[in-house]
Symmetry: C3
Subunit: 318 residues, 3 copies
């Protein structure tokens, strides 16, 4: 999320009760995913394991619970509980803003677009031209939908991320990260029925121009799908994934978080992707492998009985 205008680090320190270490005259321009962070951004860190990664990232302002060295152009904001401080900032700039109307009066809808009955269009949503939103679709606050887009019935755009702060010594182990990102649906995208696309926690979830999605597809927070991808029914993609252009995922494929799939890769049905994959190749299996390697492996498994007979059979085994 970009802030509406740059925010003085002194104001932020005051607001969350932090001590500033380092650059105390700077201005923060936004909040971002640690994988996407840019100069000017504010992030938080509360676990020693991630201190260094955070301080050495592109972020300019770091909410932290330990006093430590920091490059002079950056600032640490020292507090006891960085998670709570972060939540306070997000909720200030992106407060819960309930809507009681089926189409919010702050939403804009382009020429030639049609919204069916029972669709919900939240606050500050922008919908382009010649776009069709079918019945029982939900588009939550701040999402952006392009031109010539089709959203089939029952689909949800902008649901909240499945992303929690975990501490198992509390009564409630998991506390939700408040989210301030959006979903951006580019032009010429078609989304099937019953899909769910989570908004970014702090960055945006993006579906690239010309991509086509079948029914019941789940897209996690801050995930970026390239142009002209083809995603078949019941695929699930976790958070902070990158699909390059022209990727094809067949039915019921699962993709784990924070990984990248290269351009024009094809993932065959029911595969499970757990790490980065090169483009321009076909993959299969759970866990996924090069499709030809996996196919050979399936043939090898069929040969075990022959091997067994050869080794054991003549010696009275089997």
């Amino acid at each position: 999320m970009q802030f509406p205008s740059p925010v003085a680090v002194k104001w932020i320190a005051d607001f969350i009760g932090a001590k500033i270490i380092g650059n105390n005259i700077g201005y923060a321009t936004g909040i971002n995913e640690i994988h996407k962070v840019e100069p000017g951004d504010l992030v938080f860190v509360d676990h020693p394991k991630y201190y260094e990664k955070c301080i050495n990232s592109n972020a300019s302002f770091i909410i932290i619970n330990k006093e430590t060295a920091v490059p002079e152009e950056k600032a640490l904001l020292l507090v006891n509980n960085p998670f709570d401080a972060y939540c306070k900032i997000v909720q200030h700039f992106r407060p819960f803003e309930p809507s009681s109307k089926m189409i919010s009066s702050s939403a804009t809808i382009g020429e030639g677009s049609f919204i069916y009955p029972n669709a919900f269009i939240g606050n500050h949503v922008s919908i382009g031209n010649n776009t069709i939103i079918y019945p029982n679709v939900t588009i939550m606050d701040h999402c952006i939908v392009g031109h010539n887009v089709v959203v089939q019935p029952g689909t949800v755009i902008g649901s909240s991320a499945f992303y929690y702060n975990t501490k198992k010594d509390r009564e409630v182990w998991y506390k939700k990260m408040p989210d301030c990102g959006r979903v951006i649906i580019e032009d010429d995208v078609e989304i099937g029925a019953g899909c769910t696309i989570d908004r970014g926690v702090s960055h945006d979830t993006i579906i690239g121009k010309g991509t086509k999605m079948d029914n019941m597809i789940h897209i996690g927070h801050d995930t970026v799908i390239g142009k002209n991808c083809l995603i078949a029914a019941q695929v699930g993609i976790a958070g902070v994934v990158t699909l390059k252009d022209g990727v094809t995922l067949w039915g019921q494929v699962g993709v784990s978080k924070t990984l990248t799939i290269g351009a024009n890769a094809v993932i065959l049905a029911q595969s499970g992707v757990g790490g980065d994959l090169e483009g321009n190749k076909a993959y299969f299996g759970s866990p996924v492998q090069d499709a030809r390697v996996k196919q050979k492996e399936m043939v090898w498994v069929k040969r075990i009985p022959e091997l067994w007979d050869k080794v054991m059979g003549k010696k009275g085994g089997g």
Copy 2:
């Protein structure tokens, strides 16, 4: 389901045209799942295979189609068609009660809670305080939602169970069991978008305090999820399953019916669980195995070609 007040066995016998064998002065207190049944409960059985299990269960009143011995504190209710008799009782105490309002006038909604437009709240539903129900959510009759609960858009709570009486010599093989159970969502639970949680057939489906569910999760009838469980997107859990506290299920896991997963077990993505699992361990595969055993197995499969070459190669094979 508990009856509104205890019901005389004589009234029940009269109502369904049954002959009473055994205790004819008792009062039935409710109807229950055979796996959950308690003294005072009424059950039915129509297949000789289950006669003994039913008669020896905690149930006090058994609708049955065969005269047989019964402990003296219990009663058999002898009819030709126990399934039809059972349906008649359920439909009497839990009749179809259509609602034409988006929020039923018999529903109660706590302080600080917000119901978005296009959400449907059925008859006798109870929603606690500070709970958010997003657009296009459906909560069917008699369900109970606690405090500080979030239900993301498009989710269905209290859909009917997938549970049928089967006879393949009828024109329609499968006849629905009428359901009289509820869904109970405890405090601090968060449920993602596009989930479906079936109500209990005769017991309740329960989501324990602090449990967090991602999008498109299916929970079957009479299933009980413990506290602080974490369930990732597109998981499916069948009916009458027990998840103990702190269980984690990763994406697209499937769990078969009437089994128990122990506390703090972790089931890796796309696994298929077909039987009980001990707690405090990680599992993987379809069918599921101890994750380390499964990982070793995957390595062994890779070694078949080496084995083949060794055994066959020198003898002209391969």
Copy 3:
């Protein structure tokens, strides 16, 4: 799709600017799937690979981009771009007809049926007697729902097919085939919550009498499900599939396109079906195999270490 009345081939040629080769006095009766096509039907073909199949099919009228020989009772309609010509015809006979009412005034609803609030019933939909449509259900234009049907909350009937004309030298690679087929739900069918059933592209998607579907099931375009089938939660069936009567699919099964599963076949949970299967047998695995063969294979894999020790152990390997 049947045309409202037979349409002269000369009118069609005129409408799309085609040259007629062959029978120029015939009447086309409808548009159909190439797998389902009948005499009188109009089809299109734009790829040399499919010219012969199309010309030798039952179709009487073929929109094509190459002049070629044709049996005398048939006609070719020669155009530069058969896909665009086909789209023009479909959109003429099945124009986009938006509805702003929750229940279209052209829909008919039988006696004893109940439509819950927030359900959307499109134009020309027909619903039989004693059918229940739960909240937040969407039934799109032209679909037909029989008697004694139950559609649980959030389900979508008649969403658009995931079926595209592909050309990777355009900016947008995938262009949607306009669809003119319907969904037909026969009597005594029950459909769970959160399902999506796509309408046929040119034929109909059919759910046979007495079939029961659990939650979150996806059914592709032009697929025909037999009578008394049982489909568990989160199953996905692609387009143009045939399930014969009495087929059982357990949870999370995936079925690929244009194949047939024989009567009374049982597919175990999480299996992936990639080709035709004979009836009256059980299957398991991804890709699917005869269940007994697959079970034996799983046992053989467990024996690799023993084989390894035997072969390698005594020679210092392992």
